[in-house]
Amino acid sequence: MQRSFKMRLPFRRAAAEPRETTDPERTLISLLEWRKPGVKLVNWTIFAVLSLLTLVTLGPLFWMLSGALKSSVEIFRTPPVLWPASPEWTNFQRAWTELDPLLYLTNTAILALGAIVLQFLVSATAAYSLSKLKPVLSNALLFFFLSTLMVPALAYLIPQYLTVVHLPIFGISLVDSWWAIWLPEAASAFNIIILKSFFDAIPNDLCEAARIDGANALTIFLRIIVPLSRPALAVVAMFTVFASWKDFLWPLLVLTDTSKEPISVALYQLGIAASNGVPQNVLLAGFILAMLPPVILFLMFQRQIIRGVNTAGLKG
């Protein structure tokens, strides 16, 4: 391993040297080529095809909005109506009062916020220890954390559920408490790895200098590591929010109290499992209300999230 690395080093260095002849921004097709008429045609074809294809992703969303605004007669008409004759915005009001999305959105927000705080208390501290403090056995422990990445969480769903129902040693049940979601979610090897690789890039000299000035490990963590890695922490926080919004099976199992359900479980109970007489168009309006927070959040932080996906790399 080491030998191959050493052998490759000169090549890497050579590749890193800037060459003046090449436009660093160029892709498959060069700027010069773009001026040729044939290639221009290709460009317009790509543009047209991509625009058409966006209909596949945006079309269903438009259809959902159009359905939410239809009257209960119009929604069942064949052939389907593209846009309602007189949009019924009151469907959104009905969804707000009948489905009570505020309660479920608040629950989801509580779950997400708690998960973020715990993530910070658990993953960031562990990553700091593994990256900078390196106590005895830290390599072995890193391996133990890493190896859980190989085991998808669903493969141990049943024993994990039983653990939450009857927590060993403490002998208590976490069912119907927020902790049932927060604690298992905070045990995330993926976040530890992301944060550790970010902390690794912070020069050790910085920590060493602070230590000589009399700072202890906690001060170094809070005053140096955390402020310097705000972008990485933000990415982890963002992913945690989206994960909370997506989580379905686990809250369905451990939060049986309907007043504590997050939005995903509530949508399932209200819209799919039960036929409780709420008409289709009102349900659609409710579903739009439910997806707005993550979509708005995404649109606001689009650039950071996309960069986060790229740095977090191959998460899958």
Binding site: M1, S4, R8, F11, A15, R26, T27, L28, V39, N43, I46, L50, L53, T54, V56, T57, L61, W63, M64, T78, P79, P80, A126, Y128, L133, K134, P135, V136, S138, L141, F144, F145, M150, V151, P152, L154, Y156, I158, P159, Y161, L162, T163, P168, A187, I192, A217, L218, F221, I263, L267, I272, Q280, M291, P294, V295, I306, V309, N310, L314, G316
Partner: protein
């Protein structure tokens, strides 16, 4: 390092201290060196022990025991749970469906993100818009996606049959026929996930050194020959990783079949995860559920090991 060695030497030269004192000394040095580090690791260690490491081990134990969701004898039954799972006709259905799910997923969805990423990387205008438009489904909560597609799949008055009607094709049963239900589910999964994979391919494309294209162009390689000889070989590693990750993800598919078809019609969409769920939470049979979980666990870990071997080779053996 030198200072430590010197201190050790001094210590050795000093008159032998009483045992208790030297133990205390060593202990205090150990705490000074490791105390903070271990304290910072403690929360993660505790949580992993309770909610990851212990459950993984416990899962194996459960698969050899007789347990019910409402308590059980907990007696050891050897391989009986495994025999019962293997004898269940649904077991074959579940594996066959899951493998079909994975194959259809690759057929429908494997090439799409690559082609999209290539096109978006080359297009001169609207790059940000396209990236956003194709990524948007990833952000939408899965339950909303599922409901939206159920609404579009409605046989009478649904959007898809309406569109088919426009081109004079008869209405399709979509989710309600064993012949089309699984494929309809795969479409939903592909729609929801392709954007995320596309983003990863985009990053991979942007990391291809432009010199390679430059050189190929000078050698007279056309656009398609550049795709074939440079682009694809350069992203080959990412393509392999995505292949394995997609298979790992489909083997855990649950939400779509659970919410849209509940395994039906006629078990055409019962997947392994759904069967595990039904064993545990409908039949309350934790033994069978755990036995099947262990089988799934072994398959997934095999795939994951392949994934890790690959990524490791890619990281260590040059980019």
């Amino acid at each position: 390092m030198v200072a430590v060695a010197k201190r050790a030497k001094l210590h050795r030269q000093a008159p032998p201290a009483p045992l208790a004192q030297s133990v205390a000394h060593a202990l205090s040095r150990f705490v000074r060196r490791n105390g903070a580090g271990l304290l910072f690791l403690l929360p993660a260690l505790v949580l992993f022990a309770f909610f990851v490491w212990y459950p993984i081990a416990y899962g194996f134990v459960l698969s050899f025991q007789d347990n019910s969701l409402f308590g059980g004898t907990g007696s050891w039954v050897g391989w009986r749970n495994f025999h019962r799972v293997l004898a269940d006709p649904l077991f074959t259905f579940a594996w066959r469906n899951t493998i079909k799910y994975a194959l259809y997923g690759l057929l429908f969805g494997y090439a799409i993100p690559i082609v999209l990423a290539l096109a978006i990387d080359e297009v001169r205008f609207g790059k940000a818009y396209f990236r956003l438009a194709f990524y948007l489904p990833v952000i939408i909560p899965p339950l909303v996606t599922v409901f939206l597609w159920r609404y579009m799949y409605t046989p009478d008055g649904g959007l898809l049959n309406g569109l088919l009607n426009l081109i004079h094709v008869g209405p399709q049963p979509w989710l309600q026929s064993p012949a089309t239900a699984l494929q309809s589910l795969v479409v939903v999964t592909t729609w929801a996930n392709a954007g995320g994979t596309m983003l990863i391919y985009l990053a991979a494309l942007q990391s291809i050194p432009p010199e390679l294209y430059e050189a190929a162009e000078l050698d007279g390689a056309g656009i398609f020959s550049r795709i074939w000889h440079i682009t694809l070989p350069q992203i080959r590693g990412v393509m392999l990783i995505m292949l394995i990750l997609q298979i790992i993800a489909t083997f855990q598919i649950f939400t779509e079949p659970f919410t849209l078809t509940d395994g039906g019609p006629v078990n055409a969409t019962t997947t392994i995860m759904l069967l595990i769920y039904n064993y545990a939470f409908q039949n309350a049979d934790l033994g069978m559920a755990s036995a099947l979980s262990v089988m799934l666990f072994l398959v997934l870990v095999t795939f994951s090991l392949g994934y890790f071997a690959l990524t490791r080779r890619l990281w260590v053996g040059g980019e």
